[in-house]
């Protein structure tokens, strides 16, 4: 049985019918055209599908779409609505990513961190992104880019 849910997506109101077992990731990608959250594992293990739910990062691959009824969801598309963020600029400058598939997920986790703790040290950064897997980079430039933003703020 489909059910209508209403939520805010990147600042805009959304109303959509979903099946009770549908995952937020699939609703975002397949029905709402929001492609930045990626499907990496489908089991909550890699962080590629991360989005912000009321400002807290969650794994959209293991979140039921019905759970976000009445809530606020922000994806990478929402963060950059008014141009590149300082974090994105820093990622760019540091060549933070290689294949880039993990980039939206890291951006969500790092944004959450910097919102809660504008001046994290390196260990806090590593801790905050340890739920996001990256197979390409060895994390060095990702950490360096976030640290740069933390120092400048």
């Amino acid at each position: 049985m489909k059910r209508e849910i209403n939520f805010t997506l990147n600042g805009d109101p959304v109303s959509i019918e979903v099946r009770p077992n549908e995952k937020l990731l699939d609703v975002l990608r397949d029905h709402l055209g929001v492609k930045s959250p990626k499907h990496g594992c489908g089991r909550g293990e890699c962080g590629a599908c991360s989005v912000l739910l009321n400002g807290k990062s969650i794994r959209s691959c293991i979140t039921l779409a019905v759970e976000v009824d009445g809530q606020e969801i922000v994806t990478l598309e929402g963060l950059e609505k008014n141009g590149l963020t300082d974090l994105q600029k820093s990622f760019l400058k540091h060549n933070a990513f290689q294949c880039g598939f993990c980039a939206p997920g890291f951006t969500i986790s790092a944004t959450e961190l910097l919102n809660n703790n504008p001046h994290p040290d390196e260990n806090e950064i590593r801790e905050a992104i340890s739920g996001n897997l990256c197979r390409c980079t060895g994390y060095k430039n990702i950490v360096g880019a976030i640290l740069d933003v933390a120092k400048k703020k």
Binding site: G40, L92, N95, C99, G100, E127
Partner: protein
């Protein structure tokens, strides 16, 4: 040489903006509309069994199911080097997870549920999980028809056995040399299966239309090779097969050649007019793509008292899994190179590709070199200990140099290995002891050298087009793939240098086999070299066209003209400046109102015409199978917790001879990324199987890859540059190489810490605690 303006300078990667904004489109991000269908795959529950009957009737009745396909519909075989792989198996399954049938339906859920209604009768066969068992004369045959498979002329399958290929090298006289050696040491080493674990799983969308055209959107390193294999196996003209490659979310060799994409291709042929999506789950990614081969290696080495290595006998028993269509070439390539980067006068190598009932194995970053270097570089350290010689000194003494002959008799290319070893030793402060303040922790350092050549057919090739636009900007069309390694940026810089065109004016396009010219594959760390040469030639071609046009219109001799910052200038007339945008499309207007010129379009191609795979099968001598070697070294400082057995890498350093680093920052990023991927295989990663051949850890909880908390706080990447004469601006590849020293460097550090040699990876806490116990008992 002219001063370089772009090559060798750092720049932000040209695909960076697309990736940090989410604008980079991966295959699963493409919209295919309401006609899109989905594929569910029935996987074999047995590692080895005869298929007696497949009944798909119940699945076909499910509403929403459009078709069910299996081996009776598509009996074709396929393969890159040895055609031993099945689109769907006909008479037998050979590994757990092998695709037996597929359902095409309107949703993924319907497809997956209908799969459960397919009934298959199996008759189980004995399961072979070790190459050492499978090579025994009485072992059950995994490919009884091995003798009938199509194969390239330089691989030698042995029908009637489970040996898909054997590469032999014979040089000098090892028996005599062992007799005359002062020290001889022999031992076994083991490296288990690991997986690539790209963050993006395999995905393929195919559309077959009734005009006979098959279009595929694949996450791939090999668009043209996929087109070739599909066209050849399914007997469709090449011109009618189109492979479009989006950005790839990690390859590491796992998306080289072809595997699950064949299912998408045949599924699409069953439902013309409908795009059909096959997307692997993480579990399928573990079970049914390709893994890194397992290796049992036996090494016997002889040295003289003065530290000269005189003899090496290296026997490599590779588990290539149920198919050797690609992995046979890993076995071949390592057979040629299993001396490592050393000058050894007497060599005997036997490298066996052995079938087992494990998933097919194939290309994996390092192409077998990581695996054999684990044993070889462990052995090198042990020989140095026997000689009471410093292991770094021992490596330097025996390191191969220019004009030494490699094992198959060809002269070594220019190499900076001595400099790599020195710089790594300096960076890691080799010889300087470092004690942990915590008495429960022991610190030590470990060292390893490495080399690797691209493994390619002798006639691999690359091609490039450069198209100018009205504003003087260019699009570079190539079919090399940006996998994250920085390919696009390297190609842009090579063109920028030859055309003196700023990087902002350059785009490099992702492959589309209809539009972009040929590239063999993006593998072997060879595209900077091979495709880079093609792009350079295309840029030179475009430059010549520009000079020709300007010379004709202005009557200035071509030799007096040159390009600078997107303009044509003259050596003889400092006033003369003609911006590209004034003429590269619309030509140059003459006084009489006519025009000269027209669209500038450069083309270039490259094939290493000196390469030859024709060698004596008994000795490996007589050809030129490898184009060149890239050399390097790596070292780690580790800290072992005696209570938990955990190893922490405190510091790592690696140096590689890139010939010429086109973009030094991106080369360093490859070193760091490759080191960490290597660290995963040194400390944690191993695919575990139960006794029936089922994978026990097909997910990221049970198969741990490094996180941001697991990497060394200090990683020092070092670039050495001894130019490769036939490389673009002297460049050669380094991306895969960066993984190779890690496993042995860590194992060598463990021995230096504990006095115990561990001869298998990963170096788990359990193995370390056992080693500590062994030490106490001593």
């Amino acid at each position: 040489m002219k001063k370089l303006k772009y090559v060798g300078k750092n720049a932000v990667r040209i695909d960076g903006l697309a990736k940090i904004t989410g604008a980079a489109e991966y295959t699963d991000d493409i919209e295919f509309g309401p006609k899109l269908l989905f594929v569910g795959v029935l996987e074999s529950p047995y590692a080895h069994a005869l298929i007696k009957n497949i009944d798909t009737s119940e699945a076909e009745k499910v509403p929403g199911v459009r078709a069910v396909i299996s081996g009776k519909d598509f009996p074709e075989k396929f393969g890159l080097y040895l055609k031993d792989n099945s689109i769907f198996p006909i008479d037998r399954v050979r590994y757990v997870g092998e695709q037996v049938a597929a359902v095409i339906a309107t949703t993924q859920e319907i497809a997956d549920n209908a799969v459960k209604l397919i009934k298959v009768d199996y008759e189980p066969l004995p399961v072979l999980q070790s190459p050492l068992d499978a090579i025994k004369p009485d072992a059950v045959l995994i490919h009884p028809d091995l003798g009938s498979y199509e194969v390239v002329p330089w691989l030698y399958p042995q029908p009637g056995t489970n040996i898909a290929h054997v590469r032999k090298i014979r040089k000098g006289n090892v028996d005599k040399a062992f007799k005359e050696a002062d020290f001889v040491l022999e031992d076994w080493y083991h490296v288990p299966h690991v997986v690539h674990a790209p963050l993006e799983t395999h995905i393929s969308v195919s559309l077959f239309t009734l005009d006979g055209r098959l279009t595929m959107w694949n996450s791939t390193q090999s668009p043209h090779t996929q087109r070739n294999i599909i066209a050849h196996s399914l007997k469709i003209p090449h011109k009618d097969v189109r492979v479009i490659a989006s950005f790839v979310g990690g390859g590491f060799g796992g998306k080289a050649g072809i595997n699950m994409e064949v299912i998408g291709a045949v599924a699409a042929m069953k439902v013309p007019g409908h795009p059909v999506k096959v997307r692997w789950t993480r579990k399928q990614e573990f079970e049914n793509t390709s893994q890194r081969q397992e290796l049992y290696a036996h090494i016997k080495m002889g040295v003289k008292k003065d530290g000269t290595i005189t003899a090496l006998e290296h026997k490599l028993y590779w588990d290539v899994g149920a198919s050797a269509e690609y992995g046979s070439n890993v076995v071949n390539a390592t057979g040629f190179s299993a001396t490592g980067p050393y000058r050894i006068p007497n060599v005997s190598i036997d490298s066996y590709a052995i079938y087992t009932n494990r998933p097919p194995c194939g290309a994996y970053r390092g192409f077998g070199y990581s695996e054999f270097h684990f044993g070889l570089e462990s052995h090198i350290d042990r020989m140095a200990k026997m000689l009471k010689m410093d292991p770094v000194e021992f490596r330097k003494k025996n390191a191969i140099s220019r004009k030494d002959k490699v094992a198959y008799g060809v002269e070594m290319n220019p190499t900076g290995i001595q400099e790599c070893i020195d710089k790594v030793a300096e960076a890691i402060e080799w010889g300087k002891e470092d004690k942990s303040p915590d008495p429960n922790k022991i610190r030590a350092k470990g060292f390893a050298s490495a080399w690797k050549a691209p493994a390619m057919p002798p006639n691999e090739s690359s091609a490039a087009f450069i198209k100018f636009s009205e504003d003087g900007s260019i699009n570079i069309l190539v079919s090399g793939m940006e996998l994250g390694q920085g390919f696009m940026t390297a190609m842009a810089k090579i063109a920028a240098e030859e055309l003196s065109l700023p990087l902002e004016k350059i785009r490099v396009e992702l492959p589309d086999t209809d539009r972009n010219p040929y590239e063999w594959q993006t593998v072997a760390s060879h595209v900077t070299w091979s495709c880079g040469n093609a792009v350079r030639r295309a840029a030179i071609d475009a430059r010549n066209q520009i000079l020709e046009t300007v010379s004709r219109a202005y009557h200035i001799d071509k030799s007096n003209l040159y390009l600078e910052d997107g303009q044509v200038k003259s050596y003889t007339d400092s006033e003369f400046k003609l911006p590209f945008e004034n003429f590269v499309i619309n030509g140059i207007e003459m006084p009489d109102g006519t025009y000269r010129g027209g669209p500038i379009m450069g083309k270039g191609m490259f094939m290493p015409e000196f390469s030859s795979a024709k060698v004596n099968p008994e000795t490996g001598q007589g050809g030129h199978p490898n184009v060149h070697y890239t050399t390097g070294a790596g070292a780690v400082e580790i800290e072992i917790d005696k209570e938990t057995g955990r190893i922490k890498v405190l510091k790592a350093a690696e140096a590689f001879d890139a010939g010429k680093a086109i973009n030094p920052d991106l080369v360093k990023d490859q070193i760091v990324g490759g080191f960490v991927q290597g660290l995963g295989t040194a400390l944690w990663e191993e695919v575990k199987f139960d006794k029936n051949g089922r994978i026990l850890n097909p997910n990221f909880t049970d198969y741990k890859i490094p996180t941001a908390l697991d990497v060394p706080p200090v990683m020092i990447p070092i670039i050495v540059e001894v130019p490769q004469p036939d490389g673009p601006f002297g460049a050669r590849g380094i991306a895969e190489h960066t993984m190779i020293p890690v496993m042995p460097a860590v194992a060598n550090a463990v021995e230096n810490a504990l006095g115990v040699r561990i001869k298998s990876v990963p170096l788990t806490p359990e193995k370390i605690l056992n080693a500590l116990k062994e030490k106490e008992e001593k």
